[in-house]
């Protein structure tokens, strides 16, 4: 793997006496597609929150693009290209679809896009298939369209690494395929993606590598087929 763009080193997070993460190590290379899986309560969300700046780990460090970002607030990490989407879509309800995408374009980028904010926003909507609904209110979008908008808004922040947190939960099979195809297209543009997902069909199709967290520890990290055959993974994650 070429030099990683993200390195989590010994990340430990405690809530009172409960250790949610215990020395988790992770390195993500440029343009990699990584599936992060684990049973409920395994620490996936806590780990993502530590990576993106919603939580500060007690121990360990997070390096992004060769910079220690452990102490940086969430918005500064996002500006560097470490961007997440939310499990439950959180569009800005009082803004139209295109304005939702314009918020990061106007407020997050250090320089305006070369093609201009409006053009870039339309390009993003075009790439996620929402160009025809640019002026709609988010409340009028379907569930899968809301997920796409969530990803489009993250895309507008110009990510180098996108963390898609359960972007497919509650969707039908065909809708899951749409989102996987969209993530693959984004990845094709050079964006590394960490996919956190319970839908194993999507994880197996999308991921080049799978990382498994159980009870706050990383128990496996590698080729998807090998990881799924891993004895500890079968026991802890699949309950077999």
């Amino acid at each position: 793997m070429s030099r990683p763009i993200l390195e989590a080193r010994g990340v430990t997070k405690q809530f009172g006496g409960f250790t949610a993460l215990d020395g988790v190590e992770l390195a993500i290379g440029p343009g990699e597609r990584v599936g992060l899986i684990g049973p409920n309560g395994s620490g996936k969300s806590t780990f993502v929150n530590c990576l993106t700046g919603a939580l500060t780990p007690e121990k360990g460090a997070i390096h992004f693009l060769n910079e220690d970002v452990t102490a940086l607030p969430a918005w500064q990490r996002a500006r560097r290209g470490l961007v997440r989407s939310f499990q439950i879509p959180r569009p800005f309800k009082k803004l139209s679809v295109i304005e939702n995408v314009q918020v990061p374009l106007r407020f997050a980028l250090s320089e305006p896009p070369p093609t201009g904010i409006d053009r870039r926003a339309m390009d993003i909507l075009d790439s996620i298939g929402l160009d025809a609904k640019a002026n709609w209110a988010p409340k009028d979008l379907s569930q899968v369209e809301l997920r796409k908008l969530e990803l489009g808004r993250a895309l507008a922040a110009n990510p180098r690494l996108l963390i898609a947190d359960e972007a497919m939960a509650g969707l039908s099979d065909s809708e899951v395929d749409e989102i996987v195809a969209l993530l693959e297209r984004l990845n094709g543009e050079g964006i590394a993606v960490i996919l956190i997902e319970h839908i194993m069909r999507a994880v197996m199709r999308f991921s080049q590598r799978i990382v498994v967290l159980v009870a706050g520890r990383k128990i496996a990290d590698g080729d998807p087929a090998e990881v799924m055959r891993h004895e500890d993974v079968e026991r802890a994650y699949l309950g077999q």
Binding site: W75, F86, F92, L95, V103, F107, A108
Partner: protein, 291 residues
């Protein structure tokens, strides 16, 4: 209780005019407290500062208070932005914005009040504008221009701010911050810049409300305290983040106060007004137009 239609209609009319002024006071609280989560209890103190600035400008420079309000509002907007920056740096950024932040605004309130006492003394001051001395009579209803003009100015200010928030991109970004600060952060937008603009608007509105106050009634440095409870109550009653809700709540509070004052005596006014607040929240906890 002496009831007559004459009294009732005049009480409602006075209530609407009072409500228009209350809207001007509360709009800044709705922005700062409702939208930005900043418990700026010094807001009414800044309003009183605005009142004294208007007093000073008409008496020393002869500038009409409605005109000077615009100039002071522009200065207050810039001051508000820097003021929020300082608040953010010392409190909000460190997560000390709950109790310490409240103590900070208490301190600011006292500093503003004491400064005004030192400069102007404790006497009551009033601006008497001859062109507002007229009282129109429509049937049995009396409309004194001295109350109607500040009411219209207050409502116009609220409508203008609502227009800015709903029709401009920056305005809607402020609403986005009010709705989901975390989501704004996670797409890399600096919410501080947006909050700074919003707080500047809130500060400017406090100064304008002060100019309206000294036209309506005589003012002394600590009179702002009388409005703290009312302004926050209007914000909550209206639904926290809704400016139309703020206007509606201000009108309801104004009418409730004048009706109570007319028919039961002024000492009952606050009890009825806040009783109304509690009753509304019991049946609609999100406020009148809250979501």
């Amino acid at each position: 209780m002496n009831f007559s239609w004459d009294l009732l209609l005049n009480a409602v009319t006075s209530g609407i005019m009072l409500g228009g002024f209350y809207a001007a006071v509360a709009v800044g609280i709705t922005i700062a407290f409702g939208m930005l989560d900043i418990v700026n209890i010094a807001h009414p103190a800044f309003m009183v500062l605005g009142a004294f600035l208007a007093f000073l400008s008409i008496n020393t420079l002869g500038i009409d208070p409605f005109l000077s309000a615009l100039g002071f509002a522009a200065i207050a907007f810039v001051f508000g932005r820097y003021f929020y920056r300082a608040y953010y740096h010392f409190f909000e950024r460190r997560g000390d914005d709950s109790l310490q932040g409240l103590a900070f605004f208490f301190g600011i309130m006292f500093i503003v009040e004491i400064s005004l006492v030192l400069i102007f003394g404790v006497d009551y001051r009033l601006i008497d504008l001859p062109y507002l001395a007229t009282t129109y009579e429509i049937g049995i209803v009396q409309i004194p221009l001295r109350l109607a003009a500040p009411c219209l100015a207050g409502v116009a200010m609220l409508v203008a701010i609502q227009f800015y928030l709903s029709r401009t991109f920056t305005g809607r970004a402020i609403l986005a911050v009010a709705q989901d600060l975390e989501a704004v952060r996670f797409v890399g937008a600096d919410p501080i810049r947006t909050k700074e603009i919003a707080f500047g608007i809130a500060m400017a509105s406090a100064i304008v409300a002060g100019v309206l106050l000294i036209i309506i009634q005589s003012v002394e440095p600590s009179i702002g305290r009388e409005f703290i409870g009312r302004a926050f109550a209007i914000c909550v009653l209206g639904g926290m983040t809704s400016l139309p809700g703020t206007l509606l709540a201000a009108m309801i509070l104004g009418i409730a106060e004048t009706m109570t004052s007319t028919f039961f005596g002024p000492s009952w006014s606050p009890a009825v007004a806040f009783g109304l607040l509690l009753l509304t929240l019991a049946f609609k906890p999100s406020g009148l137009l809250g979501r």
